[in-house]
């Protein structure tokens, strides 16, 4: 970079500096601190893998559950969000499209902790879901079961994240060139086929962004598993809070934190690779 350009832009960088410092000090520094202290053995004062050994001995099942729940929720969010966004874009009944547009966004800005509270009463064994199904004669009272375990978490995640992903994807679909869709329609292609073969490839970057952001959001949710999953297995965010709050044990908690960073890092890497393969830079 040549010096005149740098000198011209120095004021701009100065304007940026306070915000950069803030993120650096209050996010990047604790993040690095957490990564490093995952390897700290408080007993010996040295650095080793003992925290990870203990983390897996105590919470190995929870690590698997966390991965499973977040992946499944992300996949469901993806499928449903594409379906909703697709109908909003390709739907031919204006009234149905308007109704759907009005409905789908409601959960978007509802905080996770509130969503968890809603689902906690809704999905309980004698909650509204089962009561309604029983009244409709769809299930027998004896078969009623509580969904307040990993399934409840998946339901809550999907309920909460679907509007976000659908909004982003519908936005991308709306800004597409419609001529191709219409000519395919003219040739008699079904809407499902148009969605999958024409629309989806063009908005895939947005789909990935929304899914990866959803994945990370779900990975960091503490309140949802804390309120919905009674007992075990649970998600590792709850285990982290438990180690820290009950024992002041930051070692094992940071080891679990390391695992969650690694998972989101893998997602980010996957996304960047996807972007490179498609020849464009990530959106």
């Amino acid at each position: 970079m040549d010096t005149p350009r740098l000198r011209k832009n120095l004021p701009l960088v100065a304007l940026l500096l306070p915000a950069l410092l803030m993120v650096g000090l209050l996010f990047v520094y604790p993040l690095l601190f957490s990564l490093a202290y995952a390897f700290r053995n408080e007993g010996t004062g040295g650095w080793d893998l003992s925290n990870f050994t203990k983390a897996f001995a105590l919470y190995g099942a929870d690590v698997s559950l966390t991965i499973g729940v977040t992946l499944l929720s992300t996949a469901l969010v993806g499928v449903l969000a594409v379906a909703v966004a697709g109908y909003l874009t390709l739907g031919e009944n204006p009234r149905a499209v308007a109704v759907l547009r009005w409905i789908y966004r409601w959960p978007m800005f509802i905080p996770f902790v509130v969503a968890a509270q809603l689902m906690r009463t809704f999905l309980a064994k004698s909650g509204m879901l089962n009561n309604t199904l029983m009244s409709l004669g769809l299930i027998e009272p004896l078969n009623a079961m509580s969904l307040l375990d990993w399934r409840g978490v998946v339901v809550t995640f999907v309920w909460k994240q679907l509007p976000f992903a659908a909004l982003l994807i519908a936005g991308a679909m709306a800004s597409m060139d419609r001529s191709l869709m219409e000519s395919a329609r003219g040739l008699g292609a079904g809407r499902l086929r148009i969605l999958i073969e024409i629309v989806l490839p063009q908005v895939s970057a947005t789909v990935w962004v929304s899914l990866i952001l959803s994945f990370v959001t779900m990975l960091s949710a503490l309140s949802v598993p804390m309120m919905i999953i009674a007992g075990t297995p649970t998600m590792i965010t709850v285990d982290m809070a438990w180690r820290v709050n009950s024992y002041g044990d930051y070692g094992v908690a940071n080891a679990l934190g390391f695992i969650s960073f690694a998972l989101s890092g893998a997602a980010a890497w996957f996304y960047l690779r996807q972007g490179v393969r498609e020849g464009g830079k990530p959106a």
Binding site: L15, Y29, V113, M128, W159, L168, L180, S223, M240, V244
Partner: protein
């Protein structure tokens, strides 16, 4: 695209059945979206609800008076939440307006790298970061204070504030600023009289968005604020874990109203393209 090269079969469902299926699906979707909300509304006015009753045995507002009595702490939590949210908005805007302005200039070196940097707090799970912030803040006496909680909230809000501000400034044409400069205005004056007012709707939107983020923030407050600072989400968690579903539901309703209002009015403040670029 290979579509035009061969004729396609038509998968058309006959009209009436299609309409029925369409409305059944939309009805099911509506039930899935609104069922949990309706359930919560019922809990807010249920005074007694034992097994095996499918609906409350006694309805009424008894728990509302319980929540809003001064000793219960819900009003105090509401007040604490509001104070923290306002402080968070102020701090985020003070940082985000200059940063967003700088990022709106294409000439800024390493611009996309800086934009990505601000995305970091959204790109990594926050729980592990928050517990370490709490540990670091102990040393500065910030754990358990309004200021500590405000800083944690501001980090979460800053991403959106910076990105929305940058989009808002970028949407302003250069011509008007140039015109002001040609009339002899200093850069600061041009910024204050031209750029800032033009970007104000976007900045207002980002302020509301940050306000909501702060109002709803959970895990940062859980680690940094508790037990001294108790915001509404924490009060709600407490009530829920104590099995006070009515109190939890009423608190949840208090948190829901601003979120839903924002959802319904967001498009007046934010154009869809700006909103869609948020968090990208």
């Amino acid at each position: 695209m290979t579509l035009s090269q061969y004729p396609l079969p038509r998968y058309q469902i006959p009209g009436v059945v299609g309409t029925l299926v369409r409305y059944a699906l939309i009805g099911l979707f509506a039930a899935a979206v609104f069922g949990p909300l309706l359930n919560m509304l019922i809990w807010t006015v249920a005074e007694a609800w034992y097994f095996p009753a499918k609906l409350p045995l006694r309805w009424g507002f008894a728990f509302w008076t319980k929540v809003f009595r001064p000793e219960a702490g819900a009003m105090k939590a509401l007040y604490t939440s509001m104070v923290i949210a306002c402080l968070t908005v102020a701090l985020s805007l003070v940082l985000a307006i200059p940063a967003g302005y700088a990022l709106s200039k294409r000439s800024l070196p390493l611009r996309s790298l800086f934009l990505l940097f601000f995305l970091l707090p959204q790109a990594f799970p926050t729980v592990a970061v928050h517990m370490n912030i709490a540990r670091i803040f102990y040393g500065f006496g910030l754990t358990g204070t309004i200021w500590g909680v405000m800083l944690v909230h501001a980090i979460q809000g800053l991403v959106f504030a910076v990105w929305i501000a940058s989009a808002a400034f970028a949407a302003i044409g250069e011509e008007q600023v140039e015109a002001a400069r040609n009339l002899g205005a200093t850069p600061l004056r041009a910024f204050m009289t031209v750029s800032l007012p033009l970007a104000a709707p976007g900045l207002m939107a980002s302020a509301i968005f940050v306000f909501l983020i702060s109002l709803d923030e959970f895990s940062g407050t859980f680690f940094v604020g508790v037990p001294d600072i108790r915001t509404l989400p924490l009060t709600m968690l407490n009530a829920a874990l104590e099995g006070n579903y009515q109190i939890a539901s009423i608190t949840a309703l208090l948190l829901l109203v601003p979120s839903i209002l924002f959802m319904l009015f967001v498009e007046r403040f934010l154009k869809a393209d700006v909103l869609a670029s948020v968090g990208k």
